[in-house]
Symmetry: C2
Subunit: 315 residues, 2 copies
């Protein structure tokens, strides 16, 4: 003797409408449908649900109590309906984003803020990692999308990649740094200052080495390492140390904290991009996030390049 929750819902609709005909209209069904469902229920329960022979339909006590459970069911079903449509339209759900620390802290988090402003019901779970582990995480399904500097050729075939920003590094220092005011610099001038480095495995560490190699500095002094971006910026701002950072990160910082030195250094071969595993199986929220990011970066990319041209290349 099992009761179908749908029947309880229908019962509540009849009781609330005050009759079968109106109840049927409210539910978008025909009156005979409800009539039969009620009759079946009565037969299966062995109890009548409406006083018979009364025309403003009068629910029995049992009916009233079952109808109140029906209301709970109706509410939960509606809720599920809403959740589903919110979810399908990409207005509800969550995205798990991972990426390299400096970019996540320095650029992506600000863009995420804009995303959350536009889609307040969407939850973003952020985590950190470098290329190999990120791809690993994508494959394991513990992360939905990653932001990571990659050489496009290094992206495995099974992983989607969308470039969002060109790789442009600069040498950065605190805005009070003695070199900060100079219009032009000779390479020798920077050699006396100590350096802030990223962890050895990180792309930026490699970039730093490459830059100094190309300038001819093979032996450099490291004054600070291991901090996340906010620590690095504090150290830069309060000391004479230098570091290599993506220009986009410098660009996104508030004025008067750090600046980029007007020295052209070589572009890293990596480009910042978004990675994903299987776009088709992504939920709408996740697709929406990726769409949003690539779209926002289309604009930002321009602005960053323009500013860099003005500030570093002085054209």
């Amino acid at each position: 003797m099992l009761i179908d929750p749908k029947h309880l819902h229908i019962l509540s609709a009849i009781v609330d409408a005050g009759g079968m005909s109106q109840g049927a209209r409210n539910l978008g069904k025909s009156q005979p449908s409800l009539s039969r469902i009620v009759a079946d229920l009565e037969a299966r329960l062995g109890e009548s649900l409406f006083e018979k022979g009364r025309r403003p339909l009068q629910p029995t006590e049992l009916c009233t109590r079952l109808a109140s459970e029906g209301r709970v069911i109706a509410r939960a079903t509606q809720q599920a309906q809403d959740i589903a449509s919110q979810f399908i339209s990409g207005h509800a759900g969550s995205v798990r984003v991972a990426g390299t620390p400096i970019f996540m802290d320095g650029v992506i988090s600000t863009i995420i803020a804009g995303f959350q402003d536009e889609f307040p019901e969407l939850r973003v779970d952020q985590s950190y990692g470098y290329a190999e582990e990120l791809i690993e995480a994508l494959r394991a399904g513990t992360v939905d999308t990653c932001v990571c500097p990659m050489e496009p050729g290094d992206v495995p075939d099974d992983i989607g990649f969308q470039r969002i920003l060109k790789g442009r590094n600069v040498i950065a220092c605190g805005s009070a740094h003695p070199l900060a005011r100079k219009k032009s610099l000779r390479l020798e001038e920077i050699s006396e200052f100590p350096w802030i480095t990223q962890p050895a495995g990180s792309p930026l560490y490699q970039d730093l080495r490459d830059v100094l190699d190309s300038i001819g500095i093979s032996d450099f002094k490291v004054s600070y390492s291991g901090g996340t971006l906010s620590s690095i910026i504090n150290v830069l701002a309060g000391s004479k140390a230098l570091t290599v950072l993506p220009f986009s990160v410098v660009y996104m910082q508030p004025k008067n904290t750090i600046v980029a030195l007007p020295i052209r250094i070589e572009h890293p071969k990596r480009e910042l991009g978004m990675l994903w595993n299987d776009m088709e199986s992504q939920s709408p929220a996740k697709r929406r996030f990726i769409r949003y990011m690539t779209k926002r970066f289309a604009g930002i990319s321009q602005a960053v390049a323009e500013r860099q041209r003005q500030e570093i290349w002085r054209e």
Copy 2:
């Protein structure tokens, strides 16, 4: 795009069981059933509910949220199930009992106490009235059963009647009354005391008149009227007034409050009985109540008659 609450319930069962096979076992269904229902739901939502190609079945975010609504539905359905079976077995529900005030207060309420002790989930709604209005209320369906002194011949054909107690009246007084200690009384002795009466329309008022008429007292002094039983008893106990009461009422009172005088007075033609409208359409709880009352009174009726024989008739 309507979601069936049953499907949400099934979804929650699958998620909670950690897989379809176990979920199917828990629900008492076959695994292919669930598999298809999930596939249909996915097709209709256009979103997958379980990560595909993962074997410990892993619900997607959407699935998790829908399942949590499913749990609400499962709980409400179970609740409805419980309500129904409690109700059908007569262990839940309510009974609306009406009756004449003195009997309700003096006898029935005590029996109701026993009923509620045995069926604590059953609610009793009590109200008061006299024969015509009671029958009216039964027909209107505002009351389920009535307790009322009636002449069996006066019961309308459409109303069921079950005698529960013979009509036996006595003259009652406070236990400290000067007449209370006498073994036998002459009729003249009672004529000097004032009387407590019921409202003019009540059966007991008629009984009082009949009694005094038969004794030859046509002109009697009324000292108090209009009170319900507890007032009447207080007035009896604290004054020298007399009144006519059913012996059953006197019998049910605690010792040393009121007593019945050893004077044989004529039996009223009315007998206390239970009335109902249509036994078939009564809910189990109401049937159970009527059953309980008639059964309890089968015993009480004996005890009352026996005691009355001893106390009044002195046989």
